[in-house]
């Protein structure tokens, strides 16, 4: 180790250069912190570490919850929104003409369904018999005979009046 004194050079003592020559460089990080930082700053550092851990845990829990809920959400979305795009059944549509042609060929060659034979013509005379005879019950009601009442002029009076009208042109007041 050389004991030669260093010559002071003011340009050498800028901030960066000073910092690189700190004697604590050989210390471990933790040892440097303990030696260099006052207690309250050390506490601040610890508090920062705790807060960081808490934030990470909280975020991880949120993400886990989100991941767990994802299948349920997807399932709910599937039931609510009809699936778009190519359906799994769509390729089967290509088989439809083949199936139809095969069915037509089979039905021409061998009728798979037995036909119902036509029934012979039969003259049908419907015989309708009344189920029961209708016998209405007639109720006869006898009302008391109406007594004739005298309304208006009698025949004799009318004849006299007619005669009077024929004979005289003057107006006649007739009291009934």
């Amino acid at each position: 180790m050389s004991s030669e004194p260093r010559i002071f050079d003011p340009d050498e003592h800028d901030d960066v250069h000073l910092e690189t020559e700190l004697p604590e460089a050989e210390l471990s990080d933790e040892a440097w912190e303990t030696a260099a930082l006052p207690d309250d700053l050390l506490l601040l550092g610890d508090q920062l570490r705790c807060d960081a851990t808490r934030l990470h845990e909280s975020h991880r829990a949120d993400r886990l919850q989100h991941e767990l809920l994802r299948p349920e959400r997807a399932q709910r979305a599937e039931t609510l929104v009809p699936a778009r795009g190519i359906s799994a059944w769509l390729p089967l549509l290509w088989l439809l003409p083949v199936v139809l042609i095969t069915a037509a060929l089979v039905s021409n060659g061998q009728p798979t369904v037995p036909r119902i034979p036509a029934s012979p013509a039969v003259a049908v005379t419907p015989s309708v018999t009344p189920q029961a005879e209708y016998s209405p019950q007639v109720y006869s009601v006898s009302l008391p005979a109406e007594t004739p009442s005298q309304h208006g002029p009698s025949a004799a009076e009318l004849d006299a009046l007619l005669d009077l009208m024929q004979n005289e042109t003057a107006s006649v007041a007739v009291s009934l």
Binding site: V16, L22, L44, G45, A52
Partner: protein, 188 residues
């Protein structure tokens, strides 16, 4: 498609969670973290020749992530400033400004990381990599592309600024002891 003997699929399965975790701490919401992490691996997949193999895979990935996050943050800030100016000019309500603020998770808002988000970029990144990702100082220096001493300095000053911000923040984060006040260490 291989990146120094490791194909992109393998790389993603190995490091995606790690990158996502760091993105979550910085952005404060899962949506931005998802986007950032995916973009990191997209960049790698689009141009695998950029990785020269001088550092480890995740060092390279973290480097991309930090750049992307810084760009996103800058873009948001500029957008917010423009919206604020517009709102002032029109004398309108500030609802338009509020709508531009990214939604962050409640848990992140209650954590110290929401306060750390207000730190300058260099300090914030060093603190995320050290206290969020538990990386050794030397690796942090490799990722940030600066000397080891600078990383230590950023950590120290970053924590100091964080303490001040916590002291100024409303009630919820005040449980951190402040009895030592603004006493600075004489290390740096």
């Amino acid at each position: 498609m291989k990146i120094c003997g490791l194909d992109v699929e393998k790389l993603t399965s190995l490091y995606f969670d790690r990158i996502h975790r760091a993105a979550l701490l910085m952005s404060g919401n899962a949506w931005d973290a998802d986007d950032l992490a995916q973009e990191v691996f997209l960049i790698v997949a689009n141009d695998p020749t950029k990785f020269e193999g001088r550092s480890s895979h995740y060092t390279y990935l973290y480097g991309i992530l930090l750049n992307l996050e810084r760009r996103l943050r800058r873009k948001r800030r500029m957008h917010q400033e423009k919206t604020e100016k517009l709102a002032q000019r029109q004398d309108g309500p500030t609802a338009a400004v509020a709508a531009d603020v990214p939604v962050v998770s409640e848990e992140w808002k209650r954590s110290l990381w929401s306060v750390a988000a207000e730190l300058p970029d260099g300090q914030r990144q060093a603190i995320v990599l050290r206290f969020g990702e538990e990386l050794p100082y030397q690796e942090i220096a490799d990722i940030l592309g600066c000397p080891l001493g600078t990383v230590k300095s950023r950590i120290f000053h970053g924590l100091g600024t964080l303490r001040k911000l916590v002291a100024e923040s409303p009630g919820q984060l005040r449980e951190i002891p402040r009895e030592l006040g603004d006493a600075q260490s004489d290390v740096i």
